[in-house]
Structures are given as structure tokens and as C-alpha cells.
Subunit: 195 residues, 4 copies
DNA sequence: TATGAATGAGGGTTCATTCAT
DNA sequence: CATGAATGAACCCTCATTCAT
């Protein structure tokens, strides 16, 4: 019989690779990178263990793929803030977009915070993490500066800490944590009394 | 580990159990709990592997001991805030004490934040974590309330997030992070302009 | 593989089966049978992994084919010794032909010697190896007998050992080993002083 | 109870390590290095798989140990040739000692010849193999030179090839191969007619 | 109290082989 | 005739834990 076409193969590949990445992210975020076995990923993705190695050279490679993808997603967050708005509106939108991502991409972020405290795992990533963080801080500085805040650099650092702190507390008690209220408080802090 | 006098501490580290706890904490904070082997702890403590099992039933037991001790330490933090001061002074002292602990007990806190995102390890601890956090928040609420802050409950949540966020960022870049400046900014935020 | 005309050979290597055999031989001789994966053979032959199983039932089957082909080649060696020559000339020619084969079919011979010491791989072949070796020894005996050598049977054994020994040493240091000189020394040993 | 003494531990270690090396050599020589699994070695040595890694860092390390030991043994062969004898007697003794080693250390030599044709396994050893071979050739040259042989260098090469060739043929048919007769023939070749 | 040899389950990874197309 | 995705057994190695002394 005729072999599968290139497109058929491509589709199969994408399907399997997607299942692997999805399963890995889910398990990594739940149990941590080292506590998740390749076997567990395979079972979760309902494929064989061996197949994973058709798509990834190693377990670490899966993680790198996930994180790289996640970073792209983060970088695009700012694009959702229209430049036509007032500074306050922009700041509000930025925080809304950010907190939405925290809520919607909870698996990625949980995994990410977990990795942050396991430096050995992400040696290869640490320079990228640094770059990402400094670009995020630059962005925060810009917004704060537009709002007329003083000592922008350190205020951006504090704001960043607030966001990460809220995110972590949210993941500790996802069901009951008033994350939207927290967002409002943050906005209040920097934009004045009313929301 | 729980606060002890210098002599007690000295004695403890000389004894096997103390050496085990100290070594384990150091390694857990550096490499993570699962990435630290019993063998590594034994080597670091300069004792035999078997001896560890004379003092602890399992590797997890060591962790539980460390965390339990650490929690005692946290609970004592507030005792360092003299009740005779003004609200502002008390708040200032509280933050100073807290940030000092972040700097001085970095091994414990690093390990702690790492565990926070690895729920499976601390299933047995999660109720204690909850208790500790809610008691901390209560404390923060009290201080904020004395300062005349409104919506104390949520402001305490935000303040807690700030502190944890700063701590995490500090551990990401321990050498260059302006943690004392951050403390000042936080105080400023809640106590008005001047430090 | 068995001697073929240049055209036959050309055609064969263009066909899949030929490409497989050629690639497998190259890799087997370089890395050993077990260290060569089917995947590596397929990549080297620039075909798909699955196609190999259209032509061969198993990896071992490929090896058997190669060895069987090689044995045919060995058996034909004697045909290159004209019967019209004097015993000395015939002996000289035989050794020349033999050492030429060692030089020209180095891939096959390397692989062959490797297999000789891996009895489990060639269990299925061992009877054929025995047959081949005893026929070779018979041939050597005949030549030695014509040269007037005494105790022909054992001298043939020694001569055979010499040839295999030289071959092995040659493959150990293919670039610098004076294999032609060795051939002359062997001839000298059995044919008298001059070459 | 009191812990075991240092000597008791030492004895245990030596016993286990010896069992591992002995088993590994036996299996490596029978089935080849890559075809012998750590599990098989453990079962053969009647110990657990894990124990092997108390004594050796890796499977390759076991091989290195065996080969290093074997090389020491080879280097000592010449010490068994008394310097007080006549050249012929010395040559005779040298070959006797050599062929005895071939017979008595058959496992090591079988494994060794197998490795010789699997260069990738012994990359780390190849320089040592070279050194050993060139020292052996030097030794053969010396003996031949004392016997008055001409073109000593190449004759030593041929003699070395003979010995290795005989060894290999011996291992192909250990039960029926007339190895002692071969030794006599070799001696005859270089020492004249009578033994 | 203290040692470290010994165990064995489980982890990441490889690879001959199968199979739908 | 040809493809390469998919499988699963087997591999090397790690490590928490046990145990005799």
C-alpha cells in the first residue's frame, strides 16, 4: 500500500507531541519535575514510554520545550494592552491580563514557580529566566513611570514581587483565594483610591 | 531550627542528630528534597548512612523535623516586637525582624518556598502550613489595623504576598537584590512617606 | 559480498537490498553487530526502517546474508591460483590473493574476526565456519604438501594461524602495519630464502 | 552492638568485589561485553544488581579493572624466564610460559581478543594496548636477536602474529586444537630442527 | 551508638520489531 | 515497494531502606 503522506505523518506527530507536552505540563505542575516519571507521562498521555523518545531527546528536553513555549506566551501578554488608552487604563489592563494569565495558565505558572526554587534543573534556562524577568521589570517601570510614580526602578521591583507573591498564594489555595480582589488592591495602590 | 541559645546550638551541632538536621537543611535548600540523597546527607554530616535511621524513621521524617523546628522559629518572630512601641514603630520592627529572618535563615526559607510548590511532599504538613499562614495573617491584620488601614483582611493578604514575593526574588538573586530597600518601600506604603 | 561483475555490483547497490547489506556491513565492521542499530543501518542506507523488514526477517538475518556472501567470496579465492604454475609460484599466488583480500575486503574480514570471538551471534553459522575453515586448511595442506613440507597437517594449522594473526594485527593498525612485508616473510618461511 | 571492624569490612569488600570481577570476566569472555548485562553479572555472582555499583562506577569500569589486572599479569610473564639459560632455552621457556597463559587464562584472553575488534569499547584502553603490544614486540625482538635471527623487527611481528593467531584458533576449538604441538612448531621454526 | 555492605524497586533511555497507510 | 509512528522489553544506573555486627 502507499505509505502515509507527509501531511498524515505531520498530523500524527503533532497529535502525539501535543499529548506529551500537555501531560508533562500537568504532571510537572502537580508533582514537580523530578517527581514525575517518564512512565507517568506516558501513561497519562496514553502512549508508550518509548514514543516519548521519538519526540524528545530526554525528560529535560520536554521541560525546556514547555518552558520555551511558556515564555513566548508571557512575552505576548503586553500586546494585549492597547496603546491608545490612558496610563491608568493601560496599567489596569496590564494587571488584568497578567492576573488572567495566572488564573488561566495556572499549570504553567505553578510549574514555573516550582522550577524557580530548583535552580539545578534549569541551569540551561537561567539566562532566559533572567532575560524574561528583566524585560518584565522594564515593562512595569514604563507603566509606573507613565503613572507618575517616583523611584520607578524599585517600585517596579516591589510591584513584581507583589504579583509573584499573589500568584504563589493563589496557587496555595486556588479555590478560596480572592485573587481578583488582590488585583484591585494593587491597582488602587498605584492608581489612587477608586478602581 | 528553633531559636536556641548559642551554647545549645553549639552542643547540638556536635551531636549526630543536630549534624543530620543541619546537613539535611543545607542540602535540601540547595538541591531540593528529592534531589538530596540520604547518602549525601550522611557524607555531609560526616556520619554513616545507617546512623540516620537511628534518629529518623525516614527521609521524610527529617524534613518534617526541620519544618516543625522552622515553624517554631517563625512563631517566635513576633516576640521580638516590643509591645511598648507606637504602631508605626512596631510595624517597622516587625518588618525588620521578618526581613532579617529572610536574610539570616535563608536556607530554611529557600527550602520552605520550594516545598510550597511541591504539595505532595508536605501533605502531612499542609494543615500546619495553613495554621501558620493564618496566624501570620492575623498578626499582620492586627498591625495594619493599629495603623488605621482599611479593609484590613485583604490588605494583610496583599502585604503577605509582598513579603513572600520579595523573599522569593531575593533568593533568585541573593547577591544583588536590594532587599533592605524593598523593606523600606513596604513600610513607606503603609506608614506614609518617611521611613 | 560475493564477487560480482562491476555492473552487477553497481545495480545492486542502487537497489534497496544491496544498500542495506552494504550499509550493514560497513557499520557492523566499524561498531560491531550489537552496537549497530537497525535505525543506524536505515539512515546510512538512506531508506526507511520498515523497508529493511521487507527484505530481511531480522537484524540477525542481515548478518547471516552478509556472512554467507562473504564465505562464497572466500571459497572463490583459490580459483585465482592458476593450476599451471609451479608449487612455489602457486603458493606465492595463493598468499598474494589471500593478503589482497585481507586488504580489499577489510570490512568483511574485520567483522568476521569480531564475530569469531562472539560465539553466541554465530551459533547458527558455526557449522559453516567449521566447514570453511577445514576446507581452507585442506587447501593449505595441499599447497604445503606440494612444496615438500613435512607434517603437513600441523604446518597448515600454523600457517593458517599466521595468516589470521597477521590479518588481525593489520586491522589493529591498518595504516602502518607492513602487511606486504609480512606476506614475504611467510613465503620465505615455506619457500626458502629468496622471494 | 559494636560495628564491624575495619578488617571485617575489608574482607567483605574483597569477597564481593572478587565475585563481581570473576563473574564479569567469565560472562564477558563468553558473550562479549555489550551482550553481558549488569543483571546477568549480579545473578552469576549471586549478589544484587545494586551492590555492583558499590564497587564500580559503571559497567565499563568493571571492564577497565579486569583489563588492567590482566595487563599486569601479562607484563609479569617474562619474569618467569630465568636469565641464566641459553638463548634457545630462554625462547623455549618464553613460549611455554606464553602458551600456558593462553591455556590457563583463557577467559581473559578470549575477552581480550574480542575487545580488540570492538575499538569503541576500549577507546580508553587503546593507548595501553599499544604500549603493551610494543613492549611485547620489543621482548620478542630481543629473544630473536639472541637467537641470531635476521630482520628482527619484522620477524618479531610475524612471531607475534603467529602467537595471536594460534591463540584465536585455540579458542575456536579449545577441546581439539593441538596448541602444544603448535608451540613446538613455532620453536622449531626459530630454533632449528629438533625441539 | 555506630558502621557500611547489601537489597530491590523504580527511574531514564534504547532499540528490534510491528503495523496502518 | 515504502514510510515512520508506535510499542514494550530490556538495559544501565540510583537510592531509600535494612541488617549483621
Amino acid at each position: 500500500m502507499a505509505p502515509r503522506t507527509r501531511e498524515q505523518f505531520q498530523k500524527m506527530r503533532e497529535k502525539s507531541q501535543g499529548k506529551i507536552l500537555k501531560s508533562a505540563l500537568e504532571l510537572f505542575s502537580q508533582k514537580g519535575f523530578h517527581q514525575t516519571s517518564i512512565d507517568a507521562i506516558a501513561k497519562y498521555a496514553e502512549i508508550s514510554k518509548g514514543l516519548i523518545y521519538n519526540y524528545f531527546d530526554s525528560k529535560e528536553e520536554i521541560l525546556l520545550d514547555i518552558v520555551t513555549d511558556g515564555f513566548k506566551l508571557i512575552k505576548e501578554l503586553e500586546n494585549f494592552v492597547p496603546t491608545s488608552l490612558t496610563p491608568k487604563q493601560k496599567f489596569d489592563t496590564l494587571l488584568t491580563v497578567t492576573f488572567n494569565s495566572i488564573k488561566e495558565n495556572s499549570e504553567f505558572w505553578k510549574m514555573f514557580f516550582h522550577l524557580l526554587s530548583q535552580p539545578d534543573v534549569i541551569t540551561k534556562l537561567s539566562s532566559e529566566v533572567d532575560k524574561m524577568y528583566s524585560s518584565l521589570f522594564k515593562m512595569l517601570e514604563l507603566h509606573l513611570s507613565e503613572l507618575g510614580v517616583e523611584d520607578v526602578e524599585n517600585q517596579a521591583k516591589l510591584l513584581g514581587a507583589m504579583i509573584d507573591g499573589v500568584a504563589i498564594h493563589y496557587y496555595l489555595n486556588q479555590e478560596h483565594y480572592p485573587i481578583d480582589l488582590m488585583k484591585d488592591k494593587v491597582i488602587q495602590l498605584y492608581c489612587g483610591e477608586e478602581k
